[in-house]
Symmetry: C2
Subunit: 144 residues, 2 copies
């Protein structure tokens, strides 16, 4: 049975699930940063997914990138599947700004996360969830 | 008309073209590192591609990751679309090893590239081109 990797569970807030992927918000107020985790066991690379799951991941990733870009008015969306420390396949989507602390460098390993204040977290969660519900690409069941 | 971004042209060796993407080898002997550049003008994000082009990019990316993994026996493939400094959409595929200079950190901005020696470059190019020809996912015309 699929189980979220403990590191992702510790570092992120679960927003819910798309058809294929668990949708996570990284608890780092420096960057609007969403992660898709296909709910399939023992997969580390995108090419190891079945072809229908690859297509579904692409669909969910494009949906998420476009909505994140629209909501945040980001200068660039950074997308990555790295997995050097967390082997469970997960796809980062990070809204980047020319004025953010790391621009133009990638954000991984650039200093500790700064968790959201409760009110800011609630605002962002609510904006994201409303946006997903309004535009849902397929039945979106929010489990959390 | 599509034109490769000057930075990609300077830093990489063009191996040829798949149906959608120009296939580049980053001239850094520290990491087997391939880049796909969809040959479409003025696109910065994957979601800005047409749906058929998104699917083709996925297909080419999965093919490339799997072959790169097989050829190099890498511990992990890192895939990323960043584009903070080079706005032309390009998708990195990097073979990572537990013994490489940056493991487990991402490789971007971690010190200067070390160009391939001519013989090593020829060997790698020839291995990659043979592998692409043997497994081609669709007509692969090598322009360089």
């Amino acid at each position: 049975m699929f189980k979220l990797h403990p590191t992702l569970e510790k570092d992120c807030i679960v927003l819910g699930s798309f058809t294929l992927s668990r949708v996570l918000l990284m608890n780092d107020s420096q960057y609007p940063w969403l992660i898709l985790v296909p709910q399939i066991e023992n997969v580390a690379e995108i090419y190891q997914l079945s072809e229908p799951d690859q297509l579904q991941l692409l669909k969910e990733s494009c949906f998420l990138s476009q909505q994140l870009s629209k909501i945040t008015q980001a200068d660039k969306i950074n997308i990555a599947a790295l997995g050097n420390t967390v082997p469970q396949l997960h796809l980062h989507h990070i809204a980047r700004f020319k004025h953010d602390p790391c621009w133009p460098k990638p954000i991984w390993g650039q200093g500790p996360a700064i968790p959201y204040a409760p009110a800011a977290l609630n605002d962002l969660k609510s904006t994201l969830l409303q946006c997903f519900e309004r535009n849902c690409i397929s039945p979106v069941i929010f489990t959390a």
